[in-house]
Each structure stands twice: as structure tokens, then as C-alpha cells.
């Protein structure tokens, strides 16, 4: 009898097919991830002239990315960990990182879908158009922003073992980010608070998204925001991976 180690490509494709199918069957969650940003985009139509199209789109995208990283990724990982799905997969001759990379690939596709939907809705309803370079760069900054929120989701699911606690924690954080997005940068609060929001994970992602949409306006502060965003992503991912346990019992 031959010991047949499956080809990495076959194993990975099988995992990805299953993860994409799972995502497709969770269409309601997918719709919600896209719906909230597009509703904000449509409801802020009157503010486009005042705040600028890229600003409004960046707020919508940031909220959408938060939703994907926290509500989509973290909750599904916590649920599957709780159900022993990861343990079952880990008992197969598949490297552990394949399991997570497959999950992250699905989320990456979600980010691309979100950015595309926001661009389409922004154009159709708010008549917001960007240069070709702006569209391309926004996909890149969207992925960087998405990595930050996926990292944040990973650190929550790493730190909190119980699936229900993960769910409630991510919802709280999501609502906090939603509030920051809606009101945080309207300069209605003390300067210290405004600065905190500005350099928070929400603010830096919004800045790089805005900068990406209009490359002519990309300045020194945007570059710093890019580095800070990458820094946040690295720290969150490091902590999330360090704390993460494959089963909820913590073994």
C-alpha cells in the first residue's frame, strides 16, 4: 500500500471550494456586509458635494471592511472552532495554514466584491466617478484595510475562546466603528477625540482609501496612515495568531 500525500494544490482547491460554497450558502451575511455600506452611501448623497465623493465612499468602504473582518470572518471562525470543524480538518494531511489561507481567500474575494459594489452604487446613485488609477489603487488600499480588520477579527477570536462571546464582542466593536464612521470625523467633538479617531484603525483605513481614490491628493499624512494601517494589521495578526487555539477548550 502506498502512502499517498495529496498534492497541496488539490487539497487547497478542495478547501477553497468548500469555503466558497459555505460563504455562498451564507448569502444573508454576505448581503448584510454589502448592504450597510451601500445604504450609507445612498443616504449620504446630500453630503457628497460638501464632503467629496472619495470621502463618502471611503467611509462606506471602511464600514464594509469592518463588517467583513469582524462580523464575517471572526464569527465564522469562532463558530467552526466551537463545532470542532477545524480539528476535523487538522486531522487530515493538510498543513494548518492551508485551512486559514483558504478562509482568508474567501474574505479577500468578499473585499473585492464589496469595493466593486460600492463603486457601482456610488456611480449609479451619487454620480461619484474616479480615475482609472483611483479605482485600481482603491482595490489595493481596500485589501490593506481589509487585512487590518481581518487581523482585528483574528485577534478577537484568538483572545476570546467562547463563540457567543466572540459574536457579542465583534458586534460591539462593529457598532463602535459604525458610530466612529458616522460621527467621528464630523468635527463635532473635542480635538483630542478627533485626533484619536483620525489615527484609529478606522481613521487610518479611511485616509488611505480616500488617498487611493484620488492619487493626486495622496500626501505625507496619507503615507503615514498607510504605514500605521500596515502596523495595525501586523500587530493584530501577530496577536491573533499567537493567542489563537484550534479548539474552544484551548488545547
Amino acid at each position: 500500500m502506498e502512502t499517498k500525500i495529496p498534492k497541496p494544490k488539490d487539497a487547497f482547491l478542495s478547501l477553497m471550494r468548500a469555503d466558497f460554497t459555505t460563504q455562498w450558502r451564507n448569502r444573508r451575511a454576505v448581503v448584510m456586509s454589502v448592504l450597510v455600506p451601500t445604504v450609507i452611501l445612498i443616504s449620504w448623497k446630500g453630503l457628497v458635494d460638501k464632503l467629496g465623493g472619495p470621502f463618502v465612499i471611503s467611509i462606506s468602504l471602511t464600514i464594509g471592511l469592518t463588517s467583513i473582518g469582524l462580523m464575517g470572518y471572526a464569527i465564522s471562525v469562532a463558530r467552526d472552532r466551537d463545532k470542532g470543524i477545524f480539528q476535523r480538518l487538522r486531522a487530515t494531511p493538510t498543513p494548518n495554514f492551508f485551512i486559514m489561507i483558504s478562509r482568508l481567500t474567501v474574505q479577500l474575494a468578499m473585499i473585492v466584491l464589496l469595493v466593486a459594489c460600492v463603486f457601482i452604487v456610488g456611480y449609479k446613485f451619487d454620480k461619484i466617478t474616479l480615475s482609472p488609477a483611483g479605482y485600481a489603487l482603491t482595490f489595493v488600499t481596500g485589501i490593506i484595510g481589509g487585512a487590518l480588520y481581518l487581523g482585528l477579527g483574528q485577534s478577537i477570536v484568538g483572545f476570546v475562546k467562547n463563540a457567543e462571546t466572540v459574536s457579542s464582542t465583534t458586534r460591539l466593536v462593529y457598532i463602535a466603528f459604525l458610530m466612529l464612521g458616522m460621527f467621528g470625523e464630523l468635527n463635532q467633538f473635542p480635538e483630542t477625540f478627533n485626533q484619536m479617531v483620525h489615527w484609529s484603525p478606522f481613521g487610518t483605513v479611511r485616509m488611505i482609501l480616500t488617498g487611493g481614490m484620488d492619487p493626486h491628493l495622496w500626501n505625507h499624512e496619507t503615507t503615514i496612515a498607510l504605514f500605521v494601517s500596515v502596523g495595525y494589521a501586523v500587530v493584530f495578526c501577530f496577536l491573533g495568531i499567537k493567542w489563537f487555539r484550534w479548539n474552544s477548550a484551548g488545547a
Binding site: 502506498e2 487538522r90 487530515t92 493538510t94
Partner: protein
Amino acid sequence: MIDKRTAYTFVKLKPSFWKMIDYTGSSILTVDRLNVFYGSFQAVKDVSFEVRPGEIFGLLGPNGAGKTSTLSAVEGLLKPHSGDIHVAGFNVSKQPLHAKANMGIQLQATSFQPELTITEIIRLFAGIYGVPLTSQRLNAILQDIKLEDAASKRFGQLSGGQQQRVSLVIATIHDPILVMLDEPTTGLDPQSRRQLWGRMEAIREKGHAVLLTTHSMEEAEAVCDRIAIIDHGRVIATNTPEALIELHRNDPNVIAASRKGKITLEDVFIGLTGKTVRA
């Protein structure tokens, strides 16, 4: 049927180099002085046993005795503090993918993605194990486990017995030399349990091995060729069920545990592990 005395495995190390392991007289699974800790708590203490080709080996013990921890270490799901585990000649720590490729596993609380159908779950694991799966082969598998009408059902929609059949099919989809079943008959009706026993015996007939944990002494007596009783993390007895009964027949604790005069494996088990209910 493969004669277990001449059961061989050809182990592909590199495309150009084939190693042949002769299982004649050797073990499919060797656990040597295994120690597992959870923090400062030692769940498994110097556990050693082996599982031979063509054998159903039972690991028995009260709740929290260390059975699942031992199995988890063999499955590579937790890192032991010390000890060696070899599956089909491969060290689980040093060659985990080769070792896992030779194992089929049914976890105690096996769960699959609830959004996937039975067909999709079987396809997923066939892909992971690199098993080509045509539609005809898939249909044959579903017919074999009498679930051809439930192909598009999701795992959570199946009964306990049906779930166990799917889990076992997935555990054996790559025809592994070692199948590990963690309390597979818990909650099953007698018909489903008998059917599962038949499937275990079929694996044995092929010269492969089954490592089974169970709380059912009836099951252990019915299907296991040898058993190890584990308590407080230690193996306290290893032998055939018949030999264990014979060896401990006159033990006062065993006699005290006997309910109907005739000494059973359950009496031996309670005699050796005590009457105290474990958490």
C-alpha cells in the same frame, strides 16, 4: 482478503525513491511513554501500547481518564510533553503529513460545515486526501451507506446513525491502514451499532487496524481483539477481553463489582477503576 502476515505498505518518500515497510510482526501504531499536560495538569502519564495489523484495539477508561487526550496526541491535534508515536512507521511529530495520510479519523464530536451537503463534504475530504472521486464512485459510496436519497441533505439534517455512517465513510475514504474511532457508537440504536461493528470488522479483515475508544463494555467484548484500560492517565491493564476477565476473576474488587455472579468485562473494568463516578 489480505493476509495480515504479509501486509506490506510501500511508502512514497520521493518520486524516485520508494521505501517498503514490512508490517510482518510489527505494529501499525506504536505509542511509547506518552505524556500529555494541560498546563500543570497531567492528563496522560507514560502511556505505551501498540496496535497491530488486523486488530481492533479498544481504549477503555472512565470519563477524564485520558483516552481522548491520547487519541488527540496520536492524531497530531495536540503536542505531547514527551513520548514517541509512530503510525505506519512514521513519527507523528516529525512526519505529521505522512502519519496523517495513513490514519482515518472519526472524532468524538465530529462536525462538518453545516452549510455543506453530504456530497460536498465527501468531495471535500476526498480532495483533501487526494482520492479521485467520479460521480459513479460517489454514488457507490452513498449507496453503500444507504444515503443515496440524502445526498443533497446537510449533515445536521441527518439522524445520529446516518451521521456516524457519513463520518466513517469520510474516515476511510482513503483506505487508511489505521482507523481511529472515538466513541463512535454513543447514542446509536442497536441496528446502527451492529452495522458499525460490521464495518469495523471489515476493516480488520483487510489487515488494517482500528483503534477504538468506548464506554460500552459490551462493544469492547464484541469487537475488540485487545483492549487497554486507562485510568487517571495511566494504562492499568492491556490484554484480550477474555484474558482480562480470566486474570482478574478472583480479584475481590472485581467480585464485589459483579452483579449476576458471572464475571464480565464491565465487572473487571469497575473492579480496576473503582465505583466512583467521574466528572
